[in-house]
């Protein structure tokens, strides 16, 4: 027994080191597997508050840039309001208007925490369940997509950024109709990779990439970026396409959470046929 105690006195630091290191690695592994721990996201009250006040300070230095972007956004919206074209052709197949005239409504939120240099990046915003935000909603800003809501509490929500390796966005080549999925490869925060575009597709550098609208998370035809380069890997049936992002994830101020009012109905009918 005495020897055992002496052993602990002599090598206690090694035991403690191994013990704590195991705890840490268990935490890391668990966090990689799923992010349900409240500890994991910065939406917990403590750090959320601190980031809120740090961000308040940072805002002062960005005021002019923010008001510029808001003014631009206003101008764009006004254009849609007053000059919008009248659709003269009656579309009888328009299933979106059956019982509701509005399909997408947007919740404005301010970004209070953001990162771009990790392997899996997340964004915290200052609106939560109290403002009607739910899990799995899409998030956009004026220039492109931002991410998908992962965790929500009353006052904050955490977004898996599009710079998160597990986020895939259904995207299409504008006015050509080819569609695939857009995903980050973990290197350049201004570049995403578009997969599953068949080798027969007629695409060229500079083509605009937009949201396809096939998934319920994002409205269709929202610009995401342009094709930067593309090539065909040998033995592969689809192109590897690098897409330059239209928006700058490193400089986000305000974002819009997409509330698709028909999401439930679309998911319902899609799930009904899932086993066919």
């Amino acid at each position: 027994m005495r020897n055992l105690i002496l052993l602990f006195v002599k090598y206690g630091n090694i035991f403690l080191f191994i013990f704590l290191e195991l705890i840490c690695l268990a935490l890391v592994a668990r966090y990689n597997a799923d992010q349900h721990e409240i500890f994991v996201n910065s939406a917990n009250i403590f750090s959320g508050k601190l980031y809120g006040s740090v961000d308040g300070l940072k805002q002062y230095f960005k005021l002019s840039a923010v008001s510029d972007s808001l003014a631009k956004e206003n101008a764009r919206l006004r254009k849609i309001l007053y000059n919008s074209d009248i659709d003269k052709i009656a579309r009888r197949d328009s299933m979106l208007d059956l019982d509701s005239s509005l399909q997408y409504s947007y919740i404005t939120a301010k970004v209070i925490n953001n990162s771009i240099n990790l392997n899996n990046n997340k964004i915290t915003i200052d609106k939560g369940a109290n403002s009607g935000i739910k899990k799995r909603m899409g998030v956009i800003n004026a220039d492109g997509a931002v991410g998908i809501i992962k965790e929500v509490n009353d006052n904050f929500a955490v977004i898996l950024s599009i710079l998160h390796r597990s986020v895939k966005i259904s995207a299409a080549v504008k006015s050509k109709g080819y569609f695939g999925s857009l995903q980050w490869t973990g290197n350049d925060p201004t570049e995403l990779e578009l997969e599953d575009i068949s080798r027969h597709a007629d695409i060229s550098i500079g083509d605009t990439i937009v949201t396809s609208g096939y998934s319920v998370k994002f409205p269709p035809n929202h610009t995401l970026g342009i094709i930067d380069t593309f090539w065909l890997e040998s033995g592969n049936d689809s192109y590897a396409i690098k897409v330059k992002l239209n928006n700058d994830i490193s400089n986000l101020q305000y974002v819009y959470v997409v509330d698709n009012l028909l999401a439930e109905k679309q998911s319902q009918i899609e799930e009904a046929t899932i086993n066919e």
Binding site: L16, F17, Y31, L50, N117, P189
Partner: protein
């Protein structure tokens, strides 16, 4: 509470605040900027006084890391790096032992053992810390190229800041 304890608590809070409120916010967005992480907090472990036992150094490192992880939303990543750095501290200190023996009442700082000695000692500690940190962050050695690139890039900025921090605060 004696002065050494309150000094450590103060330094703990100051470095935590600096790291989270200032250096975490500097994220360069241009091309290779993503490789530059500014981590100043390893100096907390580097200059802990000699009179603390090995076990206390490891425990303090763990505490610092786990609280920092709350702000970085990365449970365990910073903590494991801190624990490792704290654990190898005695080994590194033995490696760079100066002519005179270490005095148990002192801390490993510039004012005690000179600039050259501190530059070598803190360089080894910081490099080990960064390498361990980026390895755990990636959680696999598949990305070894990126891990090394991030380690070297971050080392440059962080090392500069740590030396600067030493000169500004200049603890005994």
């Amino acid at each position: 509470m004696n002065s050494i304890t309150s000094k450590i608590i103060f330094r703990f809070a100051l470095l935590m605040l600096l790291q989270v409120a200032v250096f975490k916010q500097f994220t360069p967005s241009w091309g290779y900027g993503v490789y530059f992480h500014t981590l100043i907090y390893p100096i907390f472990i580097i200059i802990l006084p000699f009179r603390l036992s090995k076990i206390n150094v490891i425990l303090l490192g763990f505490l610092f890391g786990i609280i920092l992880d709350m702000f970085y939303s990365s449970p365990g990543v910073h903590a494991s790096a801190c624990v490792f750095t704290a654990f190898i501290r005695p080994t590194v200190l033995a490696m760079v032992k100066p002519q005179a023996e270490y005095d148990i009442l002192h801390s490993p700082t510039i004012s005690q053992y000179g600039f050259v000695w501190f530059a070598a000692y803190s360089a080894i500690m910081l490099f080990v810390h960064l390498l361990f940190y980026f390895s755990v962050e990636a959680f696999t050695f598949v990305y070894i190229g990126q891990i090394l690139l991030k380690t070297f890039a971050s080392f440059i900025v962080s090392y500069f800041l740590i030396i600067l921090f030493q000169f500004i605060t200049n603890p005994k």
